[in-house]
Symmetry: D2
Subunit: 331 residues, 4 copies
């Protein structure tokens, strides 16, 4: 149950209510109390304290269409996605920041094409300790430089809670990766900022758990959450993961959060990225993450799935056409 | 290894070779021998008997791009898909034939919109004996009537090998369902006709096994095989299945067979069918199966996922626009 | 709803009731009507016709503990499993009948150890047309010979409905394989015999669907159904499948059918078969299928997973000890 | 490639080698260098620096049987598991520490039965922010009290890297949960202690990734790693997860680490825990985690799957019998 407290309730009173009803309390313009969803009816005390009350089916509460019936807007730089914008933001860049030359080359591609958000990882959540682990803070500083020099927005990933503060400081959009999606340390810190959070679905995570993970951020007080479907793990191993567009349709139908899709990580091979990207855009979505690299063959991570720049140029042009066909606009 | 035998080889000699090399032999213009893929080099005897030899990576042989590098063409009625046509055939109709009135209403919708292929099941592969099992032969006869009256092509499903001959007789395109995909009795009979076969991927079937299943038909001598991805079973149960478009991309890259997608069975709920259908078409595919019903609420099977006629009309118009955006044409 | 009709109801009346209530009717001592499980209350007409009525949660009806609260007994030869026997029948033999010499060697191993049921396939449901497809009828005849000569019970698999009559004739226990588990042609024929049916779970099949598949046989009038869990398909591919012992526990808790486990097909590699077999027996189960071969390296199918005879001898001895530890007895 | 450096190599030289060969360096008696597994042959410089060299198939290196052919020993308190001990340690306790009374009751059950390791969570990795999140540090202090008062070893879970130091301080065995298995912040800290680490497999994690996750700890210098299989996520949802005993067999065959199984979390329902526990023990394993609670119905987390104390007592007695039957001993 979501309870919008009325103005007569002080913060101290609200905290007492939160304890009494085992609820989460946050402030966002007004004081909001979120009780466990098992509570279905408000007693007199809650009724009196409330301006409005929203009863929930499950612990998908703040993210639910039952609470806010339309899609939320999220802004970064001069871009808005969600709401009634019908904007599809295309984000590109390499898997990892590898060197200044490499990331500058990626930044220049963005400028050339009018892409406004650059992606690249500094802290890489690798599955082996014996592979490239990312440049860390040095990588963040290079991304910072690209922002200043080229006026791009930066999205980069937080790997674990030891460096979440750094990422919040350096990024315009904070990406929580598939492997960190349950990390309370990260989620709680991301609830305390107002920067947009791109939350990736864990590859073994149900839609229910995914949306509930967003609740950790939303109930921390940060309304700027974007969901990202990036492929789930299935029995099929010819492709790296299985892009779950049925799941994307479910999220679109049932949640109020903007949705960005990541076909590169899903298929894991460059050959299918163009077709899948067009498929994603044709669904009418809020954004797309596509990995590109000046020279994919020598990439230090995800070499197989990154497009080279010419492949990306061709794809980008076609995405505009497809977006138009479904009443959307690439931004 | 695929061996195109030369004209000097008689059928009897070919049969002896087939036994010697534990191979499958078929005739399609010429005599073709397919050995197990483990055989990687041809000895003198095979070399002498051969016009051409194609070595295979795996038991995906006749369906592989290594054998025929371009997509095969498949024709039914005056429609051609595959090859260099860039045609996307849209097929619609109810899950099951329920009555003459119902199927005629579906046929009339096809005529109204210019849809040329009507789908509906007569033998239903239900998972419970206590639900509607289909009208059987009576259903086939009703479909036959619709073909005569409205000039439509008919696609309907074979459930098991006890009635495969009936289906081959009555259908223009024979559908092998997801649950029957490994049925040797069906596959071998379908290899003996020349009618197009739409082979659906089992929901627990890998891409490798799926394409190998097509080999049973192709090596029976029938080159007219269409693959259909219709959703795989994953841990996610908010939707009925998970449409595997990464898998579709893999099939497009690696096989020479036309591909049709079935978003209705994948998601299992009408709310997402339109978005997913547009996504499918934007991939550049050969066809689309969409379930529609004059009154989905009273449907005897798959009630949740069938579009009503107005929903289908709206969707159909938008599919044409999306197809055009990617250089394809809805037929 | 399961309705035991009273003696005043004739077969003709029962058939009229079956039509009226869209039910399945069978005779097994008495006339039994099974309505769709959606029907939760009996009207006056049904009440009057009934001796007893059992309301079901789902379309798992005849197989449910709600109908028969204890485990059913199934007999073959002089062996009984299920009921209150606490018997664990161990069944072994090669994947396929390959030659008289090979199958006789397997039969002799059974005799040596006191194993009473020999397994081997004659019609193999291979996933490629270019591999060994089984000896067919010739294989069945060899199995028949082993039965006569060595007094063994024979279990062998039906692949599709074209040869189901042959299998019913030659086998003592009819095995329906994982890939044929939805085959109505097979299921309906197996409902008409009284021979025991070992129904394997499809590797992409939910427990609900699996038990419902048994309903096709049970509602045909054959009460002698044994369920076999043999591994499901998951994202893990280091092993061939994933043996679902949680699922076995669920079946034991919720159904009234004996359960046999097949660790050989689950793991797909001989190294783990002994440990897994002991695990299965320690659960307290009704039987175990283990593949063994006189010389696994030259086996024409499933070469990796078959135990050689010495491995099987060692394992068999330890299974008796484990069974005893949990109050069961290997038969 | 694992390189045991010889005594002539100083730490400084070793660090230069580590940089040159992009390797991980740690000290454990001797200096050990682990290169990426792609490096298959040692050049002269490495040859000269090495006492011994072990070439690896994949990035499972320190955990592989190719490196250490027998199972490693891990000790805690006066218990040893692994090596040639054939000990199966049984660990029990509630899901969460809820109160002093509750955890003391669990501790007393351990003392009564001779169970030496008590489990309970203080930081709970819940999937919803609106449920009980654990007592945190207060919970750890209660566990500490139980250790002092009852002489028990304590195992408790680290949820994210913000409190990993606390857990390392308070626990005798540090549990890394399924959702934290990829957390570099946790893994790297656990590599720096010498306390035993129980690493749970992520429910969406392949065996390859799981063992590689252990490499982060092992290559940090901590050899005391125990693997724990606790169920993977599959399409089957009648049970919470699917216990992967095929995977356990693979780990036993291919890694040198002790293995503990957790049937409670796998099935998620108390009804199957006893049968599954006996199955686990019959495999010949190093330990078992079983959730028990003085009153499962009022448990604040995992209420469905915890055994009550009488159920646990009965089970515990039978586990000893099963262990004996396979040549193991419950400790």
């Amino acid at each position: 149950m979501i309870v919008h407290l009325n103005k007569s309730i002080t913060k101290e009173q609200a905290q007492l209510l939160a304890e009494k009803y085992q609820s989460v309390l946050f402030e966002n313009g007004k004081l909001v109390l979120v009780t466990p969803s098992k509570l279905k009816t408000a007693d007199d005390e809650l009724q009196k304290a409330a301006d409005e009350i929203f009863v929930a089916d499950s612990d998908i509460q703040l993210a639910s269409k039952n609470y806010i019936g339309t899609k939320r807007e999220v802004k970064f730089g001069d871009i808005t996605i969600g709401g009634s914008t019908n904007n599809t933001v295309v984000i590109t860049g390499p898997c990892s920041v590898e060197s200044e030359e490499q990331i500058e080359s990626a930044a220049q591609l963005c400028v050339e094409l009018g892409v406004k958000v650059l992606r690249a990882g500094a802290y890489k959540p690798r599955t082996s300790p014996y592979t490239f682990q990312g440049l860390g803070l040095e990588g963040l500083k290079l991304l910072d430089k690209m922002r200043s020099k080229y006026g791009l927005q930066i999205i980069t990933e937080v790997r674990d809670s030891t460096h979440v503060d750094e990422i919040i400081e350096y990024a315009d959009i904070i990406q929580i990766g598939a492997k960190s999606m349950y990390d309370h340390g990260i989620l709680r810190k991301c609830g305390k900022t107002r920067k947009p959070i791109l939350l990736k679905r864990g590859f073994g995570t149900t839609l229910q758990e995914f949306a509930q993970s967003a609740e950790f951020i939303l109930s921390g007080g940060n309304p700027n959450v974007i969901l990202c479907e990036r492929g789930i793990r299935t029995f099929e191993t010819k492709t790296r993961f299985t892009l779950d567009l049925c799941g994307a349709a479910w999220l679109k139908q049932n949640t109020n959060l903007p949705i960005i899709l990541d076909p590169s990580h899903a298929i894991g091979y460059a050959y299918g990225v163009a077709d899948l990207s067009r498929a994603c855009v044709a669904m009418g979505i809020d954004g797309l993450l596509i990995e590109s690299h000046p020279n994919p063959k020598v990439a230090k991570s995800d070499a197989d799935q990154q497009l080279n720049f010419d492949e990306f140029r061709n794809l980008y042009a076609s995405l505009k056409t497809v977006a138009t066909a479904v009443g959307y606009k690439v931004v």
